[in-house]
Symmetry: C2
Subunit: 304 residues, 2 copies
């Protein structure tokens, strides 16, 4: 099974506490790292989790509130000090480049690598990145400023070769890739071997959805339908439902209602308000609706 | 004895490690807090040290390298979320306001308090702040960009009243302040009581000097002469003397030479390069020259 995991660097909300750091996660798909959000001190958490800076090439920023992006200048500087030469790609809405450039131009004049901003429209559900194994698309969210979540989807994988059958039929190496992609094999004496004798089916591609910050919105349900893991913000509990609505955040119960309606496999709650010294109240409220819920926590690695 | 202490929030150099945070200190003089430098994650260290955000009104920035100021936007945002209404004064060189304003204008549009930048010329030794008990002046340093250290000087204090003598001579309360300032007392029957019968001398005003970042420069010696505590950068050991010169930093030995030449009472080394997992080598090199040397460390509170 190929590695697909979500490392939680910070799952607090705007006011950092000694318990929770500011928003940031690193998705690890087969040892390529993709950062989502970059609150202040993200580089410290990255280091503390012993993640590898050279494996990081893409950063996705959900929205331009400081607690989701004030870690960018420090991280960019540090990558320069570490001698990086590879491009760093930052995917964010159009204003991001304009807002950060004066600072980067001043402090990172001699950066040994290029920082490339890619703008997306947070109001649309669109593909913003793909490579050989992964697609990333935006999830329009409902917040005080334009905000998008991100859907990480593995591309369909090749079938697994059954090594003992390949040996048995003496299949030449040159035909292995075709068989992985579904072809059968014809032996030298004309016998036709069906593909399902030579392979077992590929693992189903996995999906991860990040939805923070957002008020309760059912519009995201078709986009995140059936994901293996949903990280959904749960800034407040039911006791602060009015405040959640006013500040355009969600309660834990609302996050669970979304998870249930979207038939996700697992829900991780995060973006906790500093007012909850103990989030088990949030967990209980969510589990009443959607039992397979967990609390995100710093330095945690969630396997898909 | 009135409180005068230096809280070390971060004493690492540009590359943060899991051991050392980025540069920041908070001088506490009689429960007023004065911040020096504000590297990324300073607000987290401030909170971890249980310092009181409402006591902080002045921030002094030595120079515009990111590891000394990237914590400003997050700290400023957090003070707003905490409901601050009092002015926050940032003392820095002229470019600081220009560089940070675009970011603050975008992210802190609804800040409930004013942030006021005060520009100083880092090439001059000049008074940049004073109140009833304190003077702060700049110490021109020698670095790759314009840089100033800071000298914190307590103003002369009043003599201590000898309570038992005041009672003995039945000195009326209305005359206490004059006696604290050096006056004698004439009893109702005309006897002259000299001031030194009624008081013991005030504690000598204390001085603290912060010198980071800087190459070895003897020009600072007359400015920091005799301070009670000198924090001097010691980015490198003697094994990296060439690199220290090239990057315009100091070795621990050079810091100690400055401390000895300036007759300071105590030296704290800081701004440690990430290459030293154990700074005792730096301590030993400094103590060979100036024995009363210590290593700064995070969450340490140095009493003057």
């Amino acid at each position: 099974m190929e590695r697909f995991e979500v490392n939680i660097l910070g799952c607090g909300s705007a006011l950092p506490t000694t318990k929770h750091s500011l928003s940031s996660q690193v998705v690890n798909l087969r040892d390529k790292l993709f950062m989502i959000d970059c609150g202040e001190a993200t580089q410290l958490q990255f280091r503390a989790m012993k993640l590898n800076f050279t494996r990081l090439n893409h950063i996705f920023i959900s929205h331009l509130h400081g607690d989701h992006c004030f870690g960018l200048p420090g991280l960019i500087s540090t990558l320069g000090l570490l001698g990086r030469t590879a491009e760093l790609h930052i995917h964010a809405q159009p204003n991001a480049e304009k807002v950060f450039s004066p600072l980067l131009d001043y402090f990172c004049k001699e950066l040994p690598y290029p920082v490339i901003f890619h703008a997306f429209d947070p109001k649309k559900n669109m593909l913003i990145f793909e490579d050989r194994t992964l697609k990333v698309s935006t999830i329009p969210l409902k917040h005080r400023v334009p905000t998008a979540g991100f859907l990480f989807e593995e591309k369909p994988k090749s079938a697994h070769i059954l090594r003992e059958m390949i040996d048995f039929y003496q299949v030449p190496f040159s035909q292995i890739n075709a068989i992985k992609d579904g072809a059968g094999f014809i032996t030298p004496d004309g016998q036709i071997i069906a593909n399902d004798r030579l392979t077992r089916p590929a693992d189903a591609p996995k999906k991860y959805a990040y939805c923070s910050d957002t008020a309760y919105t059912e519009k995201i349900i078709p986009i995140i339908e059936g994901v293996d893991l949903l990280y959904h913000e749960a800034t407040f509990g039911e006791n602060e439902r009015t405040r959640a609505k006013r500040t355009m955040h969600s309660t834990a119960r609302q996050a669970a209602e979304i998870a249930r309606a979207a038939n996700v496999k697992k829900l991780a709650l995060g973006h906790f308000s500093a007012r909850y010294p103990d989030e088990t109240v949030l967990l209980a409220e969510a589990q009443a609706i959607f039992p397979n819920t967990i609390l995100a926590n710093e330095r945690q690695s969630l396997k898909l």
